[in-house]
């Protein structure tokens, strides 16, 4: 038997959480409501079974709480995704763990990080066109095969997830962690791989001006990826909190801006005019070449208003709100999504995590038993000076 957090189907809790956190007051206290109203519970359940050959049991050592997890718990994630999960499931897809079974090329007891995408290979089905070219984040078969539907580990009933004492993973999902990388750094590899993937989604011309909207984990790691993997020019970061500003600068941001002065500052930096609609926020006629939306929704409107005509807005965070798409039409913007990571991204992220100044990014570690505190903390991480909140399932 293992201890696990389980997200279960409860329309009442889902509606209550979504309703409350969509209000202004509820939004501010989203962590409290997410922890108390969401359909999440701590239970004991039998060890998960390995679905087939090439799978191993994994004992999570650390497992992160991602913005998409918070979106799930507050009911803010799009219902679009409900077709891509199987209930009940254990959340947690940012995992560093230890294998409990012997696999080819991966001895029992290996310290690993997990690419959570459940593509054709883990599912034991014939490779779809995307998986055939090593772009498994675009897999068409994520509801098929030997494991239950689920776009990732952490949304799939059959595999378990990182917020537990055991999950199962396919060998193709796992990457050995070098000894030089400690667990706190290793748990950041998955979001870093996503960031690398996002900056590789479109060509970034040399010297291009970029704004990164949001400076949580995704935003900060996107800045790192932009600096390390592209020849982007000035990188502007819109950050709310003091510690985020400092970290963004440390990772190579040219200038860090507060949301309320971003439009003016970017107009000064990139030229152009500032326009004031009768209702709604101001926007630029001119602006940056590219914008990376890393807030998980609320920043998309800002990104669209700051990007020059013909520029590109890239969705890194999971979008969870409605937005006025008029700028996409009027400014002829390219709106590009970036989901999870691709074939080369994880190895690259492992290398980069070892070199980058990511010490101290994981500074809040909770046992599963304190899940309410952990989720409350994660929802207010920026305000509380934290970047990444994680569970340590090995602790009582």
């Amino acid at each position: 038997m293992i201890i696990t957090l389980e997200y279960y189907r409860s329309m009442t809790r889902y509606v209550a959480g979504r309703g409350v956190t969509s209000t202004r007051v509820g939004g501010r206290a989203a962590g409290v409501f997410a922890a108390n109203l969401s359909p999440l519970r701590l239970i004991n359940r039998p060890d998960p079974d390995r679905p087939g050959h090439g799978w191993t049991r994994v004992r999570p050592l650390l497992s992160g709480i991602c913005g998409s997890d918070l979106g799930l718990l507050t009911g803010r994630n799009s219902p679009y995704l409900s077709a891509l999960v199987s209930m009940p499931f254990t959340p947690g897809h940012e995992v560093v763990g230890e294998t409990l079974d012997e696999l080819d090329g991966l001895p029992k007891g290996s310290r690993v990080v997990m690419d959570p995408v459940l593509g054709c290979e883990p599912r034991g089905v014939r490779a779809c066109p995307s998986c055939a070219i090593d772009e498994h984040s675009r897999c068409d078969h994520i509801t098929a095969g030997i494991v239950s539907p689920g776009m990732q580990t952490g949304y799939c009933a059959g595999t378990g997830g990182g917020w537990s004492r055991m999950l199962v993973a396919h060998g193709s999902q796992l990457h050995r962690v070098p000894d030089s990388l400690d667990n706190e750094q290793a748990v950041l590899v998955e979001p870093l791989a996503c960031a690398i993937h996002s900056v590789r989604r479109v060509p970034i011309p040399r010297g291009a001006s970029v704004v990164v909207v949001g400076a949580g984990t995704v935003g900060l790691l996107t800045v790192l990826a932009l600096r390390e993997c592209t020849e982007a020019g000035p990188i502007y970061v819109i950050a709310k909190h003091g510690h985020q500003r400092e970290r963004a600068r440390e990772l190579g941001a040219t200038e860090v801006l507060s949301a309320n002065r971003a439009a003016r500052a970017l107009r000064r930096a990139t030229g152009g005019f500032l326009a004031h609609p009768e209702r709604g926020e101001e926007f630029l006629l001119g602006g940056v070449d590219m914008a990376f939306e890393c807030t998980g929704g609320s920043g998309l409107d800002t990104a669209l208003r700051l990007t020059r005509a013909g520029g590109t807005v890239l969705l890194s965070g999971m979008p969870n709100g409605s937005v006025d798409l008029t700028p996409v039409w009027f400014r002829e913007l390219n709106l590009v999504g970036a989901y999870a990571s691709g074939g080369r991204d994880f190895p690259h992220a492992l290398e980069l995590a070892a070199q980058a100044p990511l010490k101290g990014y994981v500074d809040a570690v909770y046992p599963l038993s304190r899940w309410r505190d952990a989720i409350g903390h994660a929802a207010a991480a920026g305000r509380l000076g934290t970047v990444k909140v994680v569970f340590d399932p090995t602790r009582d």
Binding site: R264, A265, L274, H276
Partner: protein, 525 residues
């Protein structure tokens, strides 16, 4: 007979003294022994202003009478000071209207058809049609607006002309219509000794290219003070430029000076010395203060800006700009100058709701700096009222509030430039060109009602002399974060401010309060 200005020494019998503080005011008890510099009592205004205007036009100084300069077929351009003076705005009819009407009558009598009126707003925001109408009057406005009554546009390259260079290499570039006229008639209101004379045309109709020769940190640091033209490098530059203009264009200058009737009857206590307040004045103070404090901020601002001053006109002089200005300056100094015996460790100023650049607008933090460390600090002749390394204490809320239409580049200056440095030299070197040539600011200056992009930098330079001279600037009632951004300290009370000043001036500092407005210029011996 008006009583001259004087310096009061605060003793036990001295009542609490009035202190302006933005869109409000308060009574403040100053420490015993503090000096208070009061302006001369308001001089009597001219009884028949229209007659005096006519007399001045017919009997000018150093020039033929105006009718002799007017003839059919000529190009006549009438230029007038914009809404930045006087402060507060004067009651209508504005003296500029009275003068322009008489000039136009003479022009019509001489058969002059080609007449244009231009507001000499330099890099200031354009005046709105309503503001133009208020200044020149209904009749002139209806006859000339919009095609022959307009604002100067310092960014309209097609309508600027380089008149020449001074011997110091300063470019003199002004409005083309004016420069190519047979006669410029300049209608002026000289509120302070800084205004008028050679400044009128060379600044009011100039471009940035020309203005930057005197509106810079070096010049302003060597203008001690800029209200004392003989000792002002800025005025030396104006004179050089005026010399170049004299060779190319005929200017007939009409200057006026005002008395110190700054506030209307219902606010009459603001014009008076506190110990002479009658029971009625005291009641008025209490009622107005209470009402002012209770009025919502937006309405309060509107009321203040609608409150026009019942100024009396103390002089109207016309003719050659140099000769006219000498006379005007005498009138201005007679109204404003008070002799003070030496500087003190601490200077105190209460900053009112208005400065030249927020008429019908918001006094933003940069303008507070410009008013306090620029205009008020420079209200001296001889030497500053505060000793080198001394402390200036101002009263103002210094709210982080900007008018988005009038002051767009001010917002960026505050957010971006002051976040990096408050050093005027560093600001000038790194940012002046950027702000001066930013296409968006230029667009807003020309087509909206925005001050020119470079204007906030000029406002900062305006205080450059004070910043260099003073050891510390403290603002009583100032917003802490805003003050900090500007390199000032905020204090809640005067006692707190004096406590903060101790580290610079010790425990027993000498203190001087320059009691203004009404305006007083300290002649510091």
């Amino acid at each position: 007979m008006s009583r001259p200005g004087f310096v009061l020494e605060v003793d036990e019998r001295t009542p609490a003294l009035l202190m302006h503080q933005g869109e409000g005011f308060r009574l403040e008890k100053l420490p015993l022994g503090s000096r208070v510099v009061y302006p001369p009592e308001s001089l009597p205004g001219l009884r028949d202003v229209d007659a005096r205007i006519r007399e001045a036009l017919l009997n000018p100084l150093g020039s033929e009478p105006l009718p002799d300069l007017l003839h059919a077929g000529m190009r006549l351009t009438i230029v007038f000071d914009d809404l930045s003076i006087p402060l507060p705005q004067m009651r209508t009819p504005d003296v500029r209207q009275r003068i322009i009407e008489q000039v136009l009558e003479m022009a019509a009598a001489a058969g002059v058809d080609d007449v244009e009126l231009i507001a000499g707003n330099a890099l200031h925001r354009r005046m709105t049609p309503a503001e133009l109408k208020r200044t020149v009057g209904e009749r002139v406005f209806r006859s000339f607006f919009p095609h022959h009554l307009r604002n100067h546009d310092a960014e309209d390259r097609a309508n600027l002309v380089e008149v020449g260079h001074t011997k110091h290499g300063e470019v003199v570039e002004i409005n083309k219509r004016a420069a190519t006229s047979d006669l410029i008639v300049y209608v002026n209101v000289t509120l302070t000794a800084m205004s008028g004379g050679p400044k009128s045309v060379s600044v009011g109709l100039a471009s940035y290219r020309s203005l930057k020769h005197h509106h810079n940190v070096h010049t302003l640091r060597h203008s001690r003070s800029f209200n004392d033209p003989p000792n002002s490098a800025m005025h030396h530059s104006y004179h050089r430029m005026a010399g170049v203009l004299d060779e190319h264009v005929k200017i007939f200058q009409i200057e006026t000076s005002l008395n110190n009737d700054t506030f209307p009857t219902q606010l009459g206590f603001l014009n008076k010395r506190e110990w002479e307040w009658t029971l009625k004045d005291q009641a008025a103070y209490l009622a107005v203060k209470r009402a002012n404090d209770l009025t919502p901020a937006k309405q309060r601002r509107q009321i203040w800006h609608r409150t026009a001053a019942p100024y009396g006109i103390t002089s109207v002089t016309a003719g050659d700009p140099g000769a006219v200005h000498e006379v005007t300056l005498q009138h201005v100094l007679r109204q404003q100058l008070t002799e003070v015996n030496g500087p003190s460790d601490i200077g105190i100023w209460g900053l009112p709701y208005i400065c030249p650049y927020n008429v019908n607008s918001i006094m933003n933090p940069i303008l507070m700096m410009s008013l306090g460390l620029g205009y008020f600090f420079n209200l001296y002749r001889g030497q500053p009222l505060v000793r080198p390394g001394g402390v200036a204490i101002y009263y103002h809320p210094v709210s982080n509030e900007f008018h988005p239409v009038h002051h767009p580049s001010y917002i960026d200056f505050y957010e971006e430039v002051l976040a990096e440095t408050t050093d005027p030299v560093a600001i000038e070197a790194k940012y002046e060109e950027q702000f001066a040539t930013d296409p968006w600011y230029t667009h807003l200056y020309r087509n909206s009602y925005a001050y020119h992009g470079v204007h906030p930098l000029y406002m900062w330079y305006w205080g450059a002399h004070a910043l260099e001279h003073l050891g510390q600037v403290i603002v009583v009632g100032g917003d802490r974060r805003t003050c900090e951004r500007m390199g000032f300290r905020a204090a809640t009370t005067l006692n707190d401010a004096l406590e903060m000043a101790r580290e610079k001036v010790g425990g027993s500092p000498t203190i001087t309060y320059q009691h203004t407005p009404p305006l007083v210029m300290a002649d510091v011996r």
